[in-house]
């Protein structure tokens, strides 16, 4: 019996050492240690032995079983390790294949630029105001010191609106309804609705009857207005300079030139150093190094009179900028009309 056990162990050791996978190991476990396995077969004759031999044999059988189990366990570990190694050595994932994703939609360049401009002014303490796009002549022109037959009206070719439900103005057969030519009427509406101090920006669509490479009949402006006691032109310069540095970069320089707008006095044009060449001169700035960006000035006393503010007590500044043109320059777009054609191939670039 003892011999048979020894042989069994020898056979098991030899066979188990060659077993390469978990299934084969399990098969060997059943063959050697299963209920109908070889160890059981040897032990089945044990009952016929005398008790002392039985005990001796029992001990030997237990140790044989333990030894085989140990062999099996090692074999399983070996097999698992081999399997893992085989798995780790398998073909590599093609990481150059594209992932599953929904390409994010893009923001329109004008709307992105508009939001960035407004956000920068919010940091300077301006709040956002809005007003109607279909406006009355009074708010768009008259109250802004642009009376009828004023030659400066030529600067803004106007779309007029057929609005039979609006009563004609006094002493006129015109009801003076138009598409606002600038965001400046928001100044008037805002000042009529509250007392100083006022510190607003008014973004929005404006309309002029014009269409070519650099003009579209609709475009966007951001208007700004600050009214308080003792507001100076130095503060206008400082505010716009701070804004330009915050928007275009801290190395940006600004310069102010005298200009003319009927609703400001004194009036100014703000130029900024070209954000493409930094002022050295390039195609974008037509070699000048500067780009005209903002019209501005100190609020004209007649505008204050139109809204019932006392120009002796209050001064203020106002400014306006064309958003589309800034976006055009920023993204180096050659034809402004592309902005509103909304070709998907255009939109997906931003």
């Amino acid at each position: 019996m003892q011999d048979r056990l020894k042989k069994l162990i020898e056979a098991a050791r030899s066979e188990i050492s060659t077993a390469s996978d978990a299934a084969k190991v399990e098969e060997l476990r059943i063959r050697y240690l299963g209920k109908k396995g070889e160890l059981s077969a040897i032990l089945s004759g044990m009952g016929k032995l005398p008790p002392d031999q039985r005990r001796e044999l029992g001990e030997a059988a237990n140790s044989a079983k333990a030894e085989i189990e140990q062999l099996l366990m090692e074999a399983i570990e070996r097999a698992e390790l081999q399997k893992l190694q085989a798995e780790l050595r398998g073909p590599k994932v093609d990481v150059t294949l594209p992932g599953r994703f929904q390409p994010p939609g893009r923001r329109h360049p004008v709307s992105r630029t508009l939001e960035e401009i407004v956000r920068t002014f919010r940091r300077l303490g301006f709040e956002v105001a809005t007003g109607p796009e279909i406006e009355l002549d009074y708010f768009n022109f008259e109250a802004l010191n642009l009376p009828k037959d004023h030659p400066a009206r030529d600067m803004q070719d106007t779309f007029y609106v057929d609005a039979p439900w609006v009563a004609p103005e006094q002493g006129s057969d015109e009801n003076g309804v138009l598409l606002r030519t600038h965001t400046s009427p928001v100044q008037i509406r805002t000042m009529l609705s509250r007392r100083p101090p006022v510190r607003i920006v008014a973004p929005g669509r404006v309309y002029r009857r014009d269409s070519d490479l650099s003009h579209t009949p609709m475009f966007h402006q951001v208007e700004g207005l600050l009214v308080d006691r003792g507001v100076t032109m130095a503060e206008l310069k400082g505010t716009l300079d701070a804004w330009a540095k915050a928007f275009f970069g801290s190395e940006t320089k600004t310069r102010f030139r005298p200009s003319y707008f009927p609703f400001t006095e004194p009036s100014a044009d703000l130029h900024i150093t070209c954000f493409s060449c930094g002022g050295a001169g390039c195609r974008l700035c037509k070699m000048g190094g500067w780009i005209e960006a903002i019209g501005a000035g100190m609020v004209h006393p007649k505008v204050f009179e139109a809204v019932g503010y006392d120009p002796k007590q209050y001064t203020g500044f106002a400014f306006g900028m064309g958003v589309d043109r800034i976006a055009l320059l920023k993204y180096r777009i050659e034809d402004l009309r592309l902005m509103f054609e909304n070709d998907v191939r255009f939109l997906e670039q931003f």
């Binding site: 599953r100 279909i134 030659p151 609005a163 009857r209 579209t216 130095a234 400082g238 007590q313």
Partner: protein, 820 residues
């Protein structure tokens, strides 16, 4: 305004053109361009023909020897209009003509030619190509031809703003230059020799409308010989872009460009009754203007008439009948001042924008009239050998008093934000022609009324009253004077400062945050943003069965003639354009206003129309595009619905109702109205485009759209939701599959599940909708994953089973369902 630097230099010392341009620009006269017309004629010099013989081998050519400063050059020439001794323009070897011709040494039929003799056309100075341009005999051999032709000038194109009509002349600009550089201003000397009788005996002038014609002055020049102007005059006009006509007309244009005052010359023999009447047109009156057009006059047009009929559109253009021509002997010169708005209306009405109307509608100096009359009469007498009659006929019914403006010197610093001494302000204003009339010093405490007027009026304040020169029609107020000081000192001299005072940092409006979330959700769903014009074509709106839009009175085109009432018009146009470029997948959205006509207005200052902010989207084509990870499918209704679900989720709007609806632009089977759950108010719509609408608008039938009223949507947003405690106990999941009548909708079934399962059912998520075998016809299978959970304990199987059973029974009983 085009300014000749050479001409300008007659009135004031000028720095280099670049420096001049910079200083004018800094003072508010933007120099847009600097031109040197002579640059185009580099290498072309004055040469004298010394010899000319026929070409040995070509009948039409001659061989000349020309002297060009010392060297005698052989040049072959094809023209015949010269004689030996003439001075001509020689383009030397290496030169390039304005028309692009490169001059090279050439061999013409066996004869060497060292350059080219040029015609006026080849030099680009006129259209005359009939022969060589013969230069004045005084031209110096060897000098650049540009110099001999008076083209060695520099021209500045200056953008004069509408408030500065006084600067629309060479003297006007010279006045500014003089202030900027400190160089003295030299006014032209007028050499007027009057002869014969008094002008007032030869012409009567009457102003019938003194409101619109403030002043009308005339001078008479007799025995005039009308002919071409001398070259000095013609060259000046040409340099400024004015075509020379004859010596009389040219003088009026010259004085206009010199002094700014528009002038007109009448053939006095054509002025009926030797009488000028300034009046508005009578019904039916007509005038043929100098441009040859017959114009029917409006009763609002101010006219210069003779005894019988209109002879000129006042301040705009003269008439053909009384035009000065070769046969004219007696000239009436007009210098007048017209009301700006009157001239502007007439100019606009007749579509005539002229040098004169441009100036009058901005406002002219009423006191410039005598000088301009004298200057032009003297020049006409000189050039046309005429006699200036004695005196001016000057009708000036209500002389204008000079404008007086009070300046508080402290306010100059107060408005500009930089200390400027009173002496400096005064110096600048005087240099500009303002006259200080009086100065006062408020001693002691301010009076109560002064104190009430604000902090700017302080104790010890000095004020002065300035009399505004009559050419400065733009200056009316203190601010205008302050601008003058700022402008001449330069804006660079004003420092940068940040606004003082505490600004009220108003919280960002919730709509800004809501919009940000919506945009982010749509971007995540793959939608590109578009911006479309607010105006569309009426046909587009009609095709979409949308309300008619507010019409423009003067649209650029019919495609842009009405204000949109739906955002679909633009989006579908974008889709159709994109498909022309073979886009496979299109998802677009727009934020923008729609315009509602005919709102009753309580207040006459209220906005004329209602403007609602909308958000709309369009979807078409491949859901993902072709990928290797999944089979490609086209978008359907549920992609549109998904976009809407995504933005509702972003705003934490949990429960809105979607219901089938009849929406004319949408497919009757796949159209939904979205409503607010509480009020039932419609928020918007979505669906597939109606096949007929799609066809009419040129987009595919499988186009899906959605549109929402953004204000109403934002009103429902829950941007700051209150925290809900997290569930501590595990859920129990049970699936439910029921077969229900096919017309039954998910919302009904789900609502019932939640209602019956209360309070144990946390949620029921539909995960399958199936029709077809083995489900009987007319029925469909709906499968829900029901999640049971309690906030305060772990549920037992028994209670879940019981609830689930109750749900099954109720679905069967109340909705005609059966368990699958």
């Amino acid at each position: 305004m085009r300014i000749s630097v050479r001409w300008l230099a007659e009135y004031v010392g000028v720095p280099s053109p670049a420096d001049l341009a910079e200083r004018l620009t800094l003072a508010g006269f933007e120099v847009e361009r600097i031109e040197r017309p002579g640059d185009a004629l580099r290498g072309v010099v004055v040469a004298q023909i010394k010899e000319s013989v026929p070409h040995p081998n070509a009948e039409k050519l001659s061989v000349t020897k020309v002297d060009a400063e010392g060297s005698l050059l052989q040049v072959v020439c094809g023209a015949k209009n010269y004689k030996v001794g003439d001075k001509v323009a020689l383009a030397t070897v290496g030169a390039q003509l304005p028309n692009g011709t490169q001059i090279k040494q050439a061999n013409l039929r066996g004869v060497e030619s060292f350059g080219m003799l040029c015609s006026a056309k080849e030099l680009g100075v006129s259209e005359d190509a009939s022969g060589l341009l013969i230069l004045d005999s005084s031209a110096k051999v060897g000098t650049p031809v540009a110099e001999a032709l008076g083209l060695d000038d520099t021209l500045l194109e200056i953008d004069v703003t509408p408030n500065r009509p006084d600067a629309l002349s060479h003297i006007g600009i010279a006045r500014e230059v003089s202030v900027l550089t400190g160089q003295p201003l030299r006014m032209p000397e007028i050499k007027l020799a009057e002869r014969g009788g008094a002008a007032s005996e030869k012409i009567r002038i009457r102003i019938e409308d003194p409101l619109r014609c403030l002043r009308y002055g005339g001078r008479v020049v007799e025995d005039v010989t009308v002919g071409p102007s001398p070259s000095w005059l013609a060259d000046r006009l040409k340099a400024c872009g004015v075509r020379p006509i004859n010596n009389v007309v040219d003088v009026t244009n010259f004085v206009l460009l010199e002094m700014g005052q528009p002038l007109h010359a009448f053939d006095l023999d054509k002025v009926a009754g030797a009488e000028i009447v300034v009046r508005t047109a009578r019904p039916g009156e007509k005038l043929t203007t100098l441009d040859g057009k017959e114009r029917l006059l409006d009763r609002d047009d101010l006219m210069i008439c003779d005894r019988d009929k209109p002879q000129a559109l006042a301040g705009v253009m003269g008439g053909a009948h009384s035009e000065v021509g070769p046969s004219t002997r007696r000239v009436l010169l007009e210098a007048a001042n017209f009301q700006p708005s009157s001239v502007r209306r007439t100019s606009k009405r007749h579509g005539l924008h002229t040098e004169a109307s441009h100036r009058f509608e901005r406002g002219m100096d009423v006191n410039a009239i005598p000088g301009a009359l004298d200057r032009s009469a003297a020049l006409i007498a000189e050039l046309g050998r005429g006699a200036v009659l004695k005196g001016r006929v000057d009708v000036y019914p209500k002389p204008i008093e000079p404008t007086k403006v009070t300046l508080r010197y402290a306010q100059v610093s107060g408005l500009l934000g930089v200390d400027i001494p009173a002496e400096e302000s005064d110096r600048i204003l005087r240099a500009l022609g303002f006259v200080r009339a009086q100065i006062s010093h408020a001693a002691g405490s301010p009076t109560p009324s002064e104190a009430a007027a604000g902090p700017a009026i302080a104790k010890g304040e000095t004020r002065a009253v300035y009399s505004v020169p009559s050419f400065r029609v733009d200056v009316e107020r203190e601010e205008d004077l302050i601008e003058e000081v700022a402008r001449i000192r330069g804006y660079d001299a004003i420092p940068n400062a940040l606004p003082r005072g505490v600004s009220e940092l108003a919280p960002e409006s919730s709509e800004v945050e809501a919009e940000r979330r919506v945009r982010s959700a749509l971007s995540g769903a793959g939608f590109n943003e578009v911006i479309n014009y607010s105006f569309v074509s009426p046909q587009q709106l009609a095709a979409l069965k949308a309300p008619a839009g507010i019409a423009l009175k003067n649209p650029l085109s019919v495609e842009q003639s009405v204000m949109r009432t739906t955002l679909y018009a633009g989006l579908l146009q974008n889709l159709s354009n994109s498909l022309r470029h073979h886009a496979e997948s299109v998802r677009l959205y727009e934020f923008g206003r729609v315009y509602v006509p005919g709102e009753a207005r309580r207040d006459k200052r209220a906005p004329p129309a209602r403007e609602d902010l909308h958000l709309a989207g369009v979807l078409f084509g491949a859901r993902r595009g072709r990928t290797w990870t999944a089979k490609d499918e086209s978008v359907d209704f549920f992609d549109a619905r998904g976009a809407m679900d995504s933005l509702l989720t972003a705003l934490n709007i949990r429960e809105v109702s979607f219901e089938n609806a009849e929406i004319p632009a949408l497919h009757p089977r796949a159209a939904a109205r979205v409503r607010s759950p509480g009020s039932g108010e419609p928020l918007g719509s979505l669906g597939q485009l109606h096949p007929k609408v799609a066809k009419e608008l040129g987009v595919p039938a499988a186009t899906f759209v959605f549109e929402l009223d953004v204000q109403k949507l934002y009103a429902m947003a829950n941007l700051v939701p209150a925290y809900q405690p997290l569930w501590r106990y595990p859920p129990v999941l049970r699936d439910l599959a029921v077969v229900v009548p096919i017309e039954l909708q998910n919302a009904q079934v789900r609502k019932l599940i939640l209602e019956v399962g209360r309070p144990l059912v946390e949620d029921a998520i539909i995960f399958d909708v199936y029709t077809g075998k083995p489900i009987p016809e007319g029925r469909k299978n709906l499968a829900y994953a029901i999640r049971y959970r309690s906030p305060d304990r772990t549920l037992t199987d028994a209670e879940v089973n019981e609830a689930h059973q109750r749900i099954i029974e109720e679905v069967n009983r109340r909705l005609g369902g059966s368990l699958r």
